[in-house]
């Protein structure tokens, strides 16, 4: 687990912090009025906000005051991408239970909330943890976030699906290290990565097949594509004077619109300029269904090495009156689960096909 370099939380806000916070638009008039009401002070709606903030900043403030201001200024946690790993070699569910209990104990000691659910040999660990971002203003530095690690029994072992962020990934790694220690033989872990496929064309093919051949789904449109071309690396054997860096190099190009993958500009970058796809956003619908449209995003976190594959069902256009609407809503957990299962399996299949082709 990564050690925190700064303090665990914010306990005190200065008069300046309060003044600045109350002057922000996110803090509505009702909140300010309530803060005064709690001190038996009635304020006029006509009194300028700055004047109220200046007065209130000079008073004593307690934890409750800080909480109500912070609630207004807090950062709404965005849903994060999902990544998965196929693990072969976990033969004993009891070893898994033991490792999970150790994780629970360790995390709770740190102050995080962890909930464990079990369904047969499938486990789900839901975390609520806090992160601190000192770059933000004082009242929104502490963010409470959720993370999930799911261990799903598959034919050959376990599929570990989790939120793609440092905290959850480190929990996953600790969990696996603990299981591995107890296991008789080392675990075989497979993640979707094209690290050993340097060919730009094949790297692009991965995303093309992921979108087009997703079983039981038909691709409707590609609405965004991010292409990448790494900066040529210099020759380490040359002197600095001899080893010239390129004067002009465009590393990443983002294209958004409709039918992006069949546009000339996209194909020119891929064909003539040797760029490759590192992220796509596309819409699909089920071949046999009422016709809801799913917006899916898939990416490699490290575009240079094509590692850290993750995806997210970013929205659903539900069916209303028999037709898909243009209003996007957040996906339900059953929809996330269904899409995740499809992409999990298909991405691994496409990766193995691409790797076979690369060896030819």
């Amino acid at each position: 687990m990564k050690k925190r370099s700064q303090g665990p939380s914010l306990y005190f806000a200065s008069d300046k912090n309060i003044f600045d916070a109350l002057n922000q638009r996110k803090v509505d008039s009702a909140t300010v009025t309530k803060l005064f009401e709690d001190r038996n002070i009635i304020v006029s709606p006509k009194t300028p906000r700055e004047e109220l903030a200046r007065y209130f900043a000079r008073l004593n403030h307690d934890f409750e005051d800080h909480q109500s201001i912070a609630a207004r200024l807090g950062v709404a946690a965005r849903r994060e991408r999902i990544t998965s790993m196929e693990v072969v070699g976990i033969s004993d569910a009891d070893a898994l239970v033991l490792a999970i209990q150790n994780i629970k104990k360790g995390r709770e000691e740190e102050g995080d909330v962890i909930q464990i659910t079990r369904e047969g040999n499938n486990f789900a660990l839901t975390f609520q943890y806090t992160t601190i971002d000192y770059g933000r203003n004082e009242f929104s530095q502490v963010q409470t976030r959720d993370g999930i690690v799911e261990l799903l029994e598959s034919g050959s072992g376990y599929t570990i699906r989790c939120t793609q962020n440092d905290y959850v990934l480190s929990v996953r790694d600790i969990l696996l290290a603990s299981v591995e220690k107890a296991a008789a033989q080392p675990l075989t872990k497979t993640v979707v990565s094209l690290f050993d496929v340097p060919d730009a064309k094949l790297r692009s093919q991965f995303f093309d097949r992921l979108m087009n051949d997703l079983p039981d789904y038909k691709r409707l449109d590609v609405i965004a594509a991010y292409v990448y071309k790494p900066k040529p690396e210099g020759d380490k054997n040359l002197d600095e004077a001899e080893d010239n860096e390129p004067d002009t190099h465009v590393e990443k190009v983002t294209m958004k619109g409709v039918g992006v993958t069949r546009s000339e500009v996209f194909n020119q970058l891929l064909k003539d300029e040797q760029y490759y796809i590192t992220k796509v956003v596309w819409t699909s619908s089920k071949v046999l269904s009422a016709g809801a449209i799913y917006e899916i995003e898939a990416t490699f976190e490290d575009p240079k090495d094509c590692t850290g594959f993750s995806f997210i069902l970013s929205g659903v256009f539900p069916v209303e009156g028999g037709k898909p609407t243009s209003r996007k809503r957040a996906p339900q957990s059953s929809e996330i689960d269904e899409i995740s299962r499809a992409i999990d399996a298909h991405s691994r299949h496409v990766m193995s096909v691409i790797k076979l082709e690369a060896k030819k």
Binding site: R219, K271, G291, G321, G322
Partner: protein, 233 residues
């Protein structure tokens, strides 16, 4: 009766790929969501019919007037021609719908990564473009957006039964303008035809001269698309 057309310049990932063959290899089969059927063929163009599965929603009302929706499977179709002009391939779509996403998705899935299409747009069309191939071409309708002053634009529409001479129009002298649409009346050996060209790329043709007018427009396509390509470069 008038017919609308749109053209797309298409590019395939490899030179050895034959789009005609690829389309013939994807006929309508049981269980498939789309298919192509050859309709007609000439030395210049092959015409196919693209059929795709669509669902139609039927609304029924119960005794309490509560709506229930029922989906019916049906088919839709559009005719397209593959036109080869000076080593460039174009698709000519007859009476295109609001969008051609299903057709383009089908072509992309058949051809694979590397298929690209560029809609042809007509932003500079003059009567001279037609005068070479017909006896007479008169500009009878003309829609422009022109800059007439600082921070002032004018949307103008001109119509004439006898034809508009752009050079004689004092109203447009010194005005920077963009053509939105133009309507020409053409005659050739006693046959008449009308062509309406929108800057967005839709061309509406009517009259007995339709085949000849299609030929004249298609002669211009390589220069039109190369120009837009060169400008973008």
């Amino acid at each position: 009766m008038s017919v609308r057309y749109r053209w797309y310049r298409i590019r395939l990932p490899r030179k050895d790929l034959d789009l005609r063959r690829l389309l013939l290899g994807n006929p309508m089969r049981e269980g498939s969501t789309f298919g192509f059927r050859r309709m007609d063929g000439t030395s210049e163009a092959d015409t196919f019919r693209f059929l795709w599965r669509v669902s139609v929603v039927l609304t029924r009302f119960s005794e309490d007037y509560e709506p229930t929706y029922e989906r019916l499977e049906s088919w839709n179709f559009v005719d397209l021609s593959i036109v080869r002009l000076s080593r460039t391939q174009f698709l000519r779509i007859e009476n295109p719908g609001r969008n051609l996403r299903d057709l383009m998705n089908a072509l992309e899935s058949i051809v694979g990564l590397g298929f690209s299409c560029l809609p042809v747009i007509f932003d500079t069309v003059t009567p001279d473009d037609f005068s070479e191939g017909v006896d007479e071409a008169r500009l009878v309708g003309f829609k422009v957006v022109g800059v007439v002053g600082e921070d002032l634009v004018a949307r103008m529409e001109f119509a004439s039964k006898n034809g508009i001479d752009l050079k004689a129009m004092s109203l447009l002298k010194g005005v920077r303008y963009k053509v939105d649409a133009a309507v020409f009346e053409c005659s050739y050996r006693g046959l008449r035809g009308q062509v309406s060209i929108a800057a967005g790329g839709t061309v509406r043709l009517a009259g007995q001269l339709t085949p000849r007018l299609i030929h004249l427009i298609e002669k211009k396509l390589p220069s039109l698309t190369n120009k837009s390509h060169a400008e973008s470069e």
